[in-house]
């Protein structure tokens, strides 16, 4: 089956800087691909090229077999888009916006159902300007889905939502995916990426660093475990660094922090027992996608 979205060697520069250097991606039917990367990495420019909002300088893009620029009319009927700064007229009411947008599409979703699913029913008659940031965000998600699209591109899906609304939105997106809609998700949130995405594309400085499943990315970053404890009596670091399963030992005050692969905990406790040292306040952390990201790009995602 041909991929739903295919991007090959995309390159886009603005007057003063290269936004996207060389990006190639494929998205298969029915999957959720997450695009992850620090601010200014080129994530938004990449999806704007896929949406046909920007003209690439080089490279090829196909969405559902269509060229985003030449086949605009057809593409806009099948592609749902949530823009980062997507806005509506200030005096337009929630229900009016949904009804209006649903009239743009040949086979729209039920806009009242969407309004309910996104918890906007009691705001139906509220003007856009009077909505909170989270409500505006939910409305923009609803508008991206109101055309009943085959493919949806969601930029910063849950930015500005409180934790409960964020989880509700994830449920909604899983519901959309279960109907076979292919989704591209631009995100900052590790938790969101781990929960929703089948695969993740890591973009940094306009290039794809890596594409893998969330678990695969963590594994590739080779940070299995982090073990932290206070030794009951002085301890020579070399006892631990000599272990093959341990990749690093650092000190944080009286605490020893050991990182290593999945066997590190076993190896460390065995050595400590042999030397009659008790590990007090022992804590073990599993490496998160966040750690993997830092390891793979040398950068942090922006704090939220």
């Amino acid at each position: 089956m041909p991929p739903v979205i295919e991007v090959r060697n995309l390159h886009k520069r603005y007057a003063d800087k290269v936004a996207v250097d060389d990006v190639s991606l494929t998205v298969q039917e029915g999957e959720i691909l997450g695009i992850l990367g620090p601010n200014g990495a080129g994530k938004t420019t990449t999806v704007e090229c896929i949406e046909g909002l920007r003209t690439p300088d080089r490279g090829e893009i196909k969405v559902l077999g269509l060229d985003p620029l030449r086949d605009r009319a057809e593409l806009t009927r099948r592609l749902g888009v949530q823009l980062q700064a997507g806005q509506l007229p200030e005096r337009l009411q929630v229900a009016e916006a949904l009804e209006l947008y649903s009239s743009f599409y040949p086979r729209p979703a039920d806009w009242r159902g969407l309004m309910h699913d996104l918890g906007l029913t009691d705001k139906a008659k509220t003007r856009y300007a009077k909505l909170s940031g989270g409500q505006k965000q939910r409305l923009s998600i609803a508008l991206a889905l109101v055309g009943n699209p085959r493919v949806a591109i969601l930029d910063e899906l849950t930015t500005g939502l409180d934790p409960q609304a964020r989880r509700d939105t994830w449920d909604l997106i899983e519901g959309v995916r279960s109907r076979g809609v292919t989704i591209v998700l631009v995100t900052h949130f590790m938790e969101e990426a781990e929960r929703l995405c089948d695969r993740l594309a890591l973009i940094d400085a306009g290039r794809v660093v890596m594409v893998d499943t969330p678990a695969g990315l963590t594994e590739r970053a080779r940070i299995g475990q982090r073990i932290q404890f206070r030794p009951s009596r002085p301890l020579d670091d070399s006892l631990l660094t000599s272990l093959p399963d341990v990749s690093g030992v650092t000190r944080r005050g009286e605490l020893v922090v050991v990182s290593g692969n999945d066997n590190a905990l076993n190896a460390v406790t065995t050595v400590l027992a042999r030397n009659q040292i008790v590990a007090e306040r022992l804590r073990v952390e599993q490496a998160s996608l966040e750690d993997a990201f830092v390891r793979l790009t040398g950068k942090r995602l922006d704090p939220h």
């Binding site: 823009l83 806005q87 005096r91 806009w111 009943n148 959309v176």
Partner: protein, 261 residues
Amino acid sequence: MSVLNTAPPRAAAKPGSATWRLIKAESKLSIRDKMALLWGVGIPLVVLIILGSIPSLRKPNEDTGGLTTFDVYVPVLILFNLAILAVTALPTTLAGYRENGVLQRMRTTPIGPARVLTAQLVANFAIALVAMILFLAVAGLGFGVDLPQHLFGFAVAWLLAAAALLAIGLLLTARVPGRSVASAMGMVLFFPMMFFAGLWVPISEMPAVLQNISRYTPLGAGMRAFQDAYLGHFPSVLPLLTLAVYAVGCSIIAVRWFRWE
């Protein structure tokens, strides 16, 4: 949360139904814009009523072919309404849409941003049409001002004036960076245009130089065409041609230069 429901597929969306809904929505939004209604309709209507209540303005005047000063002010106020809607309300709204990403958002739908422009033009045109009929009715029923004697000529003049002003508004919108600049520039255009329509000094009392300049301004030309129609003739060629040149010229430049983002 439940899985999305899908509405039963409509056989085929009625052609033009989206455009029609967009026009309705934009009209509603324009009516909710209280400032535009106040300046565009409320104030000229109040001025009309006040002027109509001053007896000295209702004596026939030799300079204007027997029309009273008040008679002359009715078309001036009709142009006032058109100018407010076309060169301040329209550009402010559309520049705001561009600034807030409304046009960009429309680019991702099958409808496209050009139809938002069209809908705004139609909405302002419709409000102006209703206001014009309202002004004529108030002047006629309230103060006994006769309708323009050449009604068809008046209609042609009004349509051309509306087209010229909306085109000027669109040209203004095409390049301004944002909402606040749009509204400031609209005002800067509005006052000299209204001056040459005779809002403060009737055209017939202007010095010859100003009268000549007035001929070639959009509202001055509009006034001349209106006066011809009030006196019972089809408007002469020069004012109609002037209005048509503004309408076509400004539209062409606006369409070529329009910044969508």
